[in-house]
Amino acid sequence: MELKLADLIEVLDCEIVQTLGNGSIIIRIGKEEHNLRLLKLETNEFEFILDHTFHHAKIIQSNSIETKILIDGQPLTVKKHLKLTQVLGKSLAMVESGGGANNLTSQIPGRVVSVIAETGMPIKKGDSVVVLESMKMQVAVKAHKDGNLKEIKVKQGAAVARNDIIAIIE
């Protein structure tokens, strides 16, 4: 199968070459073969020694496109079915440029402390639209592009989840 790490460019072809005794497996990643010794194998949790180095892996989220993993506590994303992803990626990008790009979303969960910008007014990228409070911090949600502020979707005092739409800028 072909896999790719989200941060890296290289696409790697990989497979299980051979299952030996004692939980030992030989796998091939790209051109290189590696020794893997399985210690723990559960639905979402693996422990193995890969080329003499211990790793604990936990699968956080997995779908047909990508798998989010914690390797020794560090988050990594592995992309799968690359050809399909490319097709989907293109169509997603088209949707984005159509409607999604106008939505200003919140990157954090929080409570709306104040609404700063006014509906119907022109707005510049980086201008504060609303101020949120979470963990005693006040964070301004800033316009992601220049345009006209068509609508503000939240009111003072409202609770906002991550990725909620705060405003629409056209």
């Binding site: 990989c14 020794d72 504060s128």
Partner: protein, 503 residues
């Protein structure tokens, strides 16, 4: 002489509540915890001798609810209240109500807090006591236009500070008039939301400064000691991230000189118990007093590790009228301690708060490592309270050993479910200017630390890429395809204990 304390109500939560509970245990004092709805499963509830529900999740109705806390303290017969840091720790009204109810407030008297809490009043007293303060404008500014005028006269950049703020909250930087006006609105709103009153003042921003503070302890017998300095220059948005003792640029002579000024500052406001005198140091080596924090500081473990003094036990001793058990010249500094504040914030997306369940975590240990935390596998990191989830503190015979041990500690610390500042600290511990001790409050920007952290993260991804690919391969081949969790050939013949032990 105050009576001996036999029970303490801890008006706080999280790691600091736990820290105080531990001191109580050592002293044979009954610890009484309070908790909000949100904190019923928190660790301080589990460890205290007694725990009482105090109200809903919102701090204003629980940990800040003075009436309820006093009522509870009276009904359970608590001798004393330890406020920790944050919440009611610097609220002079709370201290006064404690005094009126015959409850020992473990901290300064309300009168002294009234002065230290009012930065302008404090500044005036310090000038009288010949304690050097930051040059610039005086007085509270209520009007945005007036603020702009003062800033113009002082010269940009300027800082906007809340007179009632603390711990860096409500401090904003303005580089020009447009920014000043924008920030003024936000800062006054923030101050109103947090303290019920908006009182800002404008101060000239000194560039490339270090933040260095002195730990103080004052008793009721007119004794005062400084317990050396902490370098707290590595900050983000005026919030400390890393603290250490000693400071790389404070020598013995400077330590004695500025320490003496710190004790003088505390004496000038008739201070009692533990506190911290904060100073700014400019590039020419001048120290300017900025404020006294009238509480136990978050970063107090750094001082504890280099002096061997238990500051919380010392606080309790002083609160029950004892004399400070050591002389200034008896104090010795041994080795070097570094603290990293592990916050539930995502350093990869502008330190956005990160909240939720922590299904699993591994807390560092080993030589020279101390961890003060409320984390445990299965705990909840709430959005209602501040983002500090753990303090990782390292000690070594010198800076280098302490730094290497901190690296060890950081590599062992894993917290699942939330994002934390750990990757940032990993980058800083290996950063050349940090190692050289070239620190300033703009350290992160000056040396593009966030970019370096992103690069480091990429490197780590590369290093872990084989393991990640192997994981997905295992998942696909063994978990998904077979429809069974463990394929028979691996599970039965190869992974069995009999095979492994060779029997």
């Amino acid at each position: 002489m105050a009576a001996k304390i036999s029970s303490i109500l801890i008006a706080n939560r999280g790691e600091i509540a736990l820290r105080i509970i531990r001191a109580c245990r050592e002293l044979g004092i009954k610890s009484i915890a309070i908790y909000s709805d949100e904190d019923a499963r928190s660790v301080h509830v589990r460890r205290a001798d007694e725990a009482y529900h105090i109200g809903p999740a919102a701090a204003s109705e629980s940990y800040l609810n003075i009436n309820k806390i006093i009522e509870l303290a009276n009904s359970v017969g608590a001798d004393a209240i330890h406020p920790g840091y944050g919440f009611l720790s610097e609220n002079e009204k709370f201290a006064e109500i404690c005094e009126n109810n015959g409850i020992i407030f473990i901290g300064p008297k309300s009168k002294a807090m009234e002065v230290t809490g009012d930065k302008m009043k404090c500044k005036a007293i310090m000038q009288k006591a010949k304690v050097p303060t930051v040059p610039g404008s005086d007085g509270i500014v209520e009007d945005v236009e007036l603020a702009a005028n003062i800033a113009h006269d002082a010269g940009y950049p300027v800082l906007l500070k809340s007179a009632f703020g603390g711990g860096g909250r409500g401090i904003r930087l303005a580089n020009n008039e447009k920014q000043l006006k924008q920030e003024f609105e936000i800062a006054s709103a923030e101050s109103r939301a947090a303290f019920g009153k908006a009182a800002l003042y404008v101060e000239k921003f000194l560039e490339r400064i270090r933040h260095i503070e002195f730990q103080l302890i004052m008793d009721s017998h007119k004794n005062g000691r400084h317990i050396f300095e902490r370098e707290c220059s590595i900050q983000r948005r005026h919030q400390k991230l890393i603290e250490m003792s000693p400071s790389p640029i404070v020598d013995k002579k400077t330590r004695e000189r500025v320490g003496e000024i710190a004790v003088r500052a505390a004496t000038a406001v008739d201070y009692l118990n533990a506190g911290t005198a904060e100073f700014l140091r400019d590039q020419q080596g001048n120290f300017y007093f900025i404020e006294i924090n009238s509480r136990l500081q978050v970063e107090h473990p750094v001082t504890e590790l280099v002096t061997g003094i238990d500051l919380v036990k010392l606080q309790i001793a002083v609160a029950q009228g004892e004399e400070i058990p050591f002389k200034q010249e008896e104090l010795k500094m041994h080795g070097c301690a570094i603290e990293c504040r592990i916050n539930a914030e995502d350093p990869f997306s502008d330190f956005a708060p990160s909240i939720g369940m922590v299904p699993n975590c591994n807390i560092s240990s080993g030589p020279g490592i101390r961890v003060d935390t409320y984390l445990y596998p299965g705990c909840n990191v709430s959005g209602y309270y501040d983002s500090l989830v753990a303090k990782l503190i390292s000690w070594g015979n010198d800076f280098e050993e302490s730094r290497i041990r901190m690296k060890n500690g950081l590599s062992e610390f894993t917290i699942e479910g939330i994002n934390t500042t750990i990757p940032l600290f990993k980058t800083i511990m290996d950063e050349q200017n940090f190692i050289k001790g070239d620190l300033s409050t703009d350290y992160l920007e000056r040396f593009s630390i966030i970019n370096k952290m992103n690069e480091d993260a990429k490197e780590r991804s590369k290093k872990n890429s084989s393991a990640a690919i192997a994981t997905v391969l295992l998942q696909t081949e063994f978990v998904k395809k077979s429809g069974r969790i463990i394929p028979t050939d691996v599970a039965q013949s190869n992974l069995s204990w009999k095979k492994m032990t060779g029997k």
